[in-house]
Amino acid sequence: MNYAKHEHHDFAGASAQALTDPPLQAALARLTDILMAGNRRSYAALADSSALRDHAKRIKEHALAHLDRYLEELEQTVTKRGGKVHWAATAEDARQIVVNIARQAGCKKAVKSKSMTSEEIHLNPALEKAGVEVTETDFGEFIIQIAGERPSHLVAPAVHHTRESIARVMSHHLQESLPDDARSLAMTGRRVLREKFYQADLGITGANFVVAQTGTIVLVTNEGNGRLTTTCPRVHVAIAGIEKVIPRFSDLPVFLKLLARGATGQTLSVYTTIITGARQPGEMDGPEEFHLVLLDNGRSKILGSPFRESLQCIRCGACLNACPVYRRIGGHAYGGVYSGPIGSILTPLYDSVSLNPDLPHASSLCGACQAACPVKINIPHMLIGLRQMQHRYKPARLEDLAYAAWKEVLRRPWLYRLSLRFAKVFLRLFAQDGWLRRLPGPGSGWTQVRDFPAPAKRTFRDRWKELNS
């Protein structure tokens, strides 16, 4: 399978391309409008959504503060129920662990339920290299898998596709001519995937939540593919970031209420699958083996950093839907596995701050993300924090000098007044009734679609005296 090859896109180029792609623009506007309307409606329908979101945040804060304790408890509870816990420090470790499990159990055919964590570690190519056929069973993930693409949204991975392009991709893959109506495409997907479920000997999932108290993993889907993935094959591997742990089973309803609302505006997702260990004696179904891979991949470092709050993310995608930048450029422009506002934090942190210099700046800091987030993560603050961190990774540039010089001016009111006077006289030479139609250099982008105001003839400071006469 042909996965996207470039880890790091040219963000400016990719976003510019997205802006001139009308079908993508239409799809993004439609999706984000629908999901955001749902988000607002369903938060409003709760008695006190703000209090519930604060409550969820406190649970996450507590779980992260005592992460060592809860992870150890989790290992014990999973083991007690016949499961096996694997600790993966890096993405490479995690891939190797899953490949080894498949080898030892003699698995040749895997079905996967949607998992961003498995995308993060680029699991599929590793399994295929080891001779395991992998099929994504979330319909959106299936489409992008056969198209050789990456998800462009946390919960709607194929949002960049249209009915027509899905028909093309599926027709090509299945070598049959499919009509482009949604129902028949869905029925074809169902037919193809049902067969894969029956044949598979390995089921791979992520985990929306992992409960330390009971050793339970919780999967939320709307298609039921999570349930089939965890019941048909004889081996089940779940991969979860260590931050997914919540202390008690009774914490679960808090998050289930918020996840579905944040993601899609649903009261509850269609399928909530709660799995505690492998098949127990006397049980009718469930896998013979259950493995839980707990992934660090940089998370424990983030835990002790100013970006700790990012570990509270429950991957609902609400911040993407709320973001006016995501709405314009879509997920692929961000270049990483995670996109949108939270992706602009996670990609630099999990991947590399110095290799992702553009992402923290890909935001107007409007705060719509934080307002939509079920756990109220202060995403704008973390974006600013990353901007600050970048200054440590690069040599002094013209920009640094400009900001420093500007600051020196602003600290001295007399110099500020003088500079303003010069700017005014100079810029007004080129202005027409107070506005500039074209700016040079870094300002040229601004004046592509809008005029720029020249300083007023008389500043407020100048007019203050007359206000008092």
Partner: protein, 238 residues
Amino acid sequence: MKVSLMVTCLGDALFPEVGVATVRLLRRLGVEVDFPAAQTCCGQPHFNSGYHHDARELAKHTIQAFANKQLVVSPSGSCAAMVKLEYPELLHDDMVWHGRAEDLARRTHELSDFLVNVLKKEDVGARLEGKATYHMACHLRGLGLQREPETLLQNVRGLQLAPLERYDECCGFGGSFSVRYPGISGAMVQDKAALIEKTGADVVVATDAGCLMNIGGCLRRRGSKVKFMHLAEVLNST
């Protein structure tokens, strides 16, 4: 009551009429206004670009400029949010300045916040004939001022308010964002301008110079008939 005006650097240089309207409006409501001349810029551009050291110095400069213990009123949600929300955190580790930052944060109010929540005036006796639509500046979300400006506008005699679709979506300004990614920022402001035109309003009202220069500049370029006004100018009309 006596207040100090924080006119903001954009307000001082680009839209002085907003400051003038704010002073006249406040005086009409019986508030004494002074203008501490040492004020320049709150340092938000430096803070947002990650130059926290520079921002800290400008924060201290601003705190000193407004050290007179009076309430501070600013016709800008953006600069008020910088002072109220960011200064205390920015100076958190400074034994002396943290307390002063918190003091200024408590004393500072965005204009609509001051009018509605401090002066308790939802009707300031303004009159303006025409049809207006309102764009919500992003920092008002951060300050929790989602009701105040509209309440004030609803009480302006002669003014008909037309609802703006996606009224709380960012206009695409974002300071350095608009320079760094003018393509994305430009797409956002063009959508905003189109939605504003769709309302059929004569004027779009906002509470921040950043939004006004961005939206106003775009409306001008489009040759639009829609004018733009700061909330202070609308409320100062009689």
